[in-house]
């Protein structure tokens, strides 16, 4: 369906089109097909790469259908299209998770403060919502406006879900375009949700040096009553903090979090603790250190009720997304609830966050004294004893391990009292418990790891939220010129292929090379888990500003919006291009001129997939760790062989740049070493000035030499003129270029894809 007049007027009304802060661009509140030409333009150069995870389709009862050897399903679908459909399905789970989170947060705050409650992100942030402005054309002023953004997401989403039904979309490119749309909606939701909680709960904004917060399970003072909040929606966690404050209990009770709720609760109150990322949920909960376990939503291990009751802990669920079949008791008196919890170990669902907070705190106070005995970790002796039956030979554990770890050797050594190997397995363990489930001798491997895990306390900086307009003004020019070599965002989950702290290594390698390094979510936590010889984490060593060589924790997963927002702001604030309802103009600017790269080193979730897919549509390349291959789809060029033609914005001529920049839009790399050089390369942009490119190449060469032992094998692709050869490597580079028959290439000052495909955006719009 194409947009009719009435819908167009409705949109103009919703976004207050007559407010003339900027002219309304061509695509306010884009529908499913409005950005399809842009999507197809991207897909022309960056083909989807599919790695089927299953040969079959089992989505309807005509199947299962065998899709090997070019066979089609009963519905006519082929394997490529089926993969793309799957990507859309999974992306929508991500969009919905964030969208529903945003809806909940915004509605909750509207209930508290009304829809006119103002959005004010402090003195440093005037462009408050770059994504919402660009996508919808609305400049949100208050909570009611944020709700409009979510309503837009809800409205679009149903069409996308519909397209996944059997017999709907039949072409992989259109599925990918729809997945991009899901990504865009996701970003709108992210931004709306985080802005809402920032203003509603007074989370940090317009401040760079947020407090340092304690992280690690060793940081929890288990002698206190211990409340552990798990999930990604901190509404109940905030209520717990409020209750503790109101009752002067804050220093008597330990509040600690797992996953993003941990980030957010420490943004609210920096004396809360972060236990760690998703991969530590099971480990920590099995250890039994929590007196009350509180689940909200998203990324919550589903057998928490069972783990809590095995540990003798109380357990409260707080979300309609995760209700565990429990009785909802918001309407019951607190005393009655507590009685049943404490006497009968009953678990409850409590949707009223304030009531939940009271129940949780009082349960923790009541339970803690009774649980002192249980709040102890396994000793090495106990662990050895529990491992007694293992001879390390059957390897059943290994064969079940999704991270391919040598569990057998580790347990066999632990049996003999040596925990070194188990310690290193723990560092790589994603906490799935499949090994212990598989163990022929029923060794409780996750518990045995308690004896091997280091219990350090680490420092992380509390999530700082939006990047400041003034920071953008400062770095805009060097980023676009290329003299700041890139803006990196480490986002996503803890499904790491190697050690949990590899992210710290990558972040530091980049920060030392003067990249602007941002982190969020589980990745931000993992990056805190490495100390230098002085015992400092990267958050203590590096300045928390959005600037070259600095390291920023933006916050929880929904804070990812701010880094995408920063890229938009560069176009909007620094380059003064209008962003209002101007998606293609912004994305075109980013892909050609903003050397940004997202990294999801430990991807597992549909949310991370969706965020990444959305980023690609903005022109931000994504590098994934190996587990990302199981998402089933990447976006890759064929390097020199692909179409690298762009328009020269000044001459309006089509020009073949011959340079694959950015080379891929979504790629998996196998090792962290390879990731390092790939991330660096993904920051190259067509618009780099020769000095800027020289700086980027300098990074690239130095890193490549460090990990690959030679000059980059594709160096010739990225040197356009001799001026771009980094001085330190001049001689060897020139020799190499000669050897491979390098020829100079064109370097444009106004490269743009606008004009290379059918679009409503005039090429003039790219020049400002």
């Amino acid at each position: 369906m194409s947009k009719g007049k009435i819908r167009e007027e409705e949109i103009r009304r919703i976004i207050r089109a007559d407010d003339e802060w900027e002219p309304v661009g061509p695509t306010p509140m884009p529908s499913l097909t409005d950005l399809r030409n842009w999507d197809f333009r991207l897909l022309d150069t960056y083909e989807p790469f599919y790695a089927p995870f299953c040969d079959l389709c089992c989505l309807c009862t005509f199947g299962k259908c065998d899709l090997t050897e070019d066979k089609k399903g009963a519905c006519g679908i082929d394997i490529a299209t089926q993969q793309a459909r799957w990507i859309l399905i999974c992306s929508l789970m991500g969009t919905a998770a964030h969208g529903a989170h945003g809806r909940h947060m915004i509605d909750h705050l509207i209930e508290k403060y009304g829809e006119d409650f103002k959005i004010d992100l402090g003195s440093q942030v005037n462009v408050e919502a770059p994504i919402i402005r660009t996508v919808t054309g609305l400049k949100p002023k208050n909570l009611g406006d944020l709700r409009k953004a979510i309503e837009y997401v809800e409205r679009e989403m149903i069409h996308l879900v519909s397209a996944t039904h059997m017999g709907q979309e039949g072409n992989y490119r259109d599925f990918e375009s729809k997945a991009f749309h899901a990504g865009t909606l996701d970003h709108v939701a992210l931004e709306a949700a985080d802005i809402a909680q920032i203003v509603g709960y007074g989370l940090p904004t317009s401040i760079a040096d947020t407090p340092l917060v304690d992280l690690g399970w060793g940081a929890i003072d288990v002698k206190k009553p211990t409340i552990v909040v798990v999930g990604h929606n901190a509404i109940t966690a905030y209520a717990i903090v409020d209750y503790l404050r109101q009752h002067d209990l804050y220093d008597k009770v330990e509040v600690a979090g797992l996953c993003c709720t941990a980030h957010d609760v420490t943004r609210y109150d920096s004396s809360a603790k972060i236990i760690g990322p998703l991969s530590r949920q099971r480990f920590f909960l099995k250890a039994g250190l929590a007196d009350v376990v509180v689940t909200d939503e998203q990324c919550v291990i589903t057998d928490i009720p069972q783990m809590a009751s095995e540990a003798g802990a109380a357990m409260v669920a707080c979300s309609d997304k995760i209700s565990y079949g429990l009785e909802e008791v918001s309407a019951k008196p607190v005393d009655d609830i507590l009685r049943e919890m404490l006497e009968n170990q009953k678990q409850f669902l409590i949707l009223d966050s304030e009531k939940a907070a009271e129940v949780i705190v009082r349960a923790a106070l009541a339970l803690a004294p009774l649980r002192q005995e249980r709040k102890k970790l396994m000793t090495k002796e106990e662990a050895s004893l529990l491992s007694a039956k293992c001879r390390g030979t059957c390897e059943t554990c290994n064969r079940a391990c999704p991270n391919l770890l040598p569990v057998n050797l580790a347990i066999n050594q632990a049996r003999q009292g040596d925990f070194t190997k188990l310690g290193s397995v723990f560092l790589r363990c994603i906490g799935c418990a499949k090994c212990e489930e598989a163990c022929v001798n029923n060794i409780p491997i996750q518990k045995v790891m308690q004896a091997a895990a280091a219990s350090d306390t680490y420092k992380i900086r509390a999530g700082r939220g939006p990047i400041h307009d003034v920071e953008i003004r400062k770095v805009g020019s060097p980023i676009v010129l290329g003299t700041i070599p890139g803006v990196i965002l480490f986002a996503g989950c803890s499904n790491f292929p190697g050690d949990i702290d590899d992210v710290a290594w990558l972040a530091e390698e980049l920060a030392r090379r003067k990249y602007i390094v941002n982190l969020s979510g589980c990745a931000a936590m993992a990056a805190a888990m490495r100390k230098d010889e002085d015992g400092k984490t990267i958050y203590e060593k590096y300045i928390p500003e959005f600037d070259a060589g600095c390291i920023v924790n933006v916050g929880s997963c929904i804070s990812n919006a701010h880094v995408v927002g920063a890229a938009i702001k560069i176009a909007n604030i620094f380059a003064t291009l209008p962003n209002r309802a101007n998606f293609e103009l912004m994305a075109d600017y980013i892909i050609n001129r903003v050397g940004a790269c997202g990294v999801v080193w430990g991807p597992y979730s549909q949310k991370a997939l969706c965020i990444g897919t959305g980023a690609v549509r903005w022109g931000i390349p994504i590098v994934l760790g190996p587990h990302g291959s199981k998402y089933r789809r990447l976006f890759m060029s064929k390097k020199e062989a692909s179409d690298w033609r762009v328009m020269d914005g000044r001459t309006k001529q089509r020009v073949d740049t011959q340079e694959p920049t950015p080379e891929h839009m979504m790629l998996v790399t196998e090792t962290k070493e390879r990731a390092l050089v790939t991330i660096i390369k993904q920051c190259f942009r067509r618009n780099d000035t020769p000095p800027g490119r020289a700086i980027k190449l300098n990074s690239y060469i130095s890193a490549y030499k460090q990990v690959m032992g030679s000059l980059p094998d594709d160096l010739q692709n990225f040197i356009r003129t001799e001026k771009e050869i980094p001085i330190v490597y001049k001689r060897e580079v020139i020799a190499y270029l000669k050897e491979v028959g390098w020829k100079p290439k064109i370097s444009l000052s106004l490269p743009t894809l606008i004009g290379t495909y059918e679009t409503k955006v005039p090429i003039e719009a790219t020049v400002k």
Partner: protein, 187 residues
């Protein structure tokens, strides 16, 4: 009905769901024959070849011998190149695993030595789960070539796979067997 049997791979995470699964090559001589028959093979080295010991030698020692004995070009993925150079060998091409798979899908790609598409691609040392994804891509999207996963953990998505071999000693024997049998069949 051999093709009707599927073996379980070493890592259950890769568990087959497919209807088209690898032929298991249990005998080194068969393996050698498959390699010998190829007219334009390629050997992809993954990161594990430089980390993993087979008895007292590195895995790469064996894979290099296989490659050399039939003059098979090598693609070094991940950060394997560094170690290869230390061993005095320059790989024929450098791509990360997903990149080389991306090129291999394309029948018109001229291959690492410009002789046209590779008809057989050997893999060793790629992280097992990632390899399985790449092999799936080739199984579905590269009907013009065959894949052979020379990996002791077995790879159902390959056309040819080694059975699960848990004992290192047997693995060494297998590899040496392949090396010694290579060239015994006319290509």
């Amino acid at each position: 009905m051999a093709s009707e049997l599927m073996t379980m791979p070493y890592y259950k995470i890769n568990v087959l769901t497919g209807t088209k699964a690898a032929k298991v090559v249990s005998e080194p001589v068969e393996a050698a024959r498959i390699i010998d028959k190829a007219t334009n093979p390629l050997y992809v080295f993954g990161a594990e070849v430089i980390d993993s010991l087979v008895g007292d030698r590195l895995l790469i020692d064996f894979t290099l011998e296989i490659a050399k004995s039939r003059n098979i070009p090598i693609c070094a993925t991940a950060h394997v190149k560094k170690k290869m150079m230390e061993l005095g060998v320059l790989p024929d091409s450098i791509y990360d695993i997903i990149e080389i798979v991306h090129f291999l899908k394309d029948k018109n790609w001229m291959g690492v030595r410009g002789k046209g598409f590779h008809d057989l691609v050997l893999f060793t040392g790629v992280r097992c789960d990632l390899a399985e994804r790449g092999l799936s891509t080739l199984k579905h999207f590269a009907p013009h070539l065959k894949t052979f996963a020379i990996c002791r953990r077995s790879h159902p998505n390959a056309d040819f796979a080694v059975p699960v071999i848990t004992k290192t000693e047997k693995w060494r024997v297998y590899l040496e067997g392949v090396i010694s049998e290579l060239g015994t069949v006319k290509a």
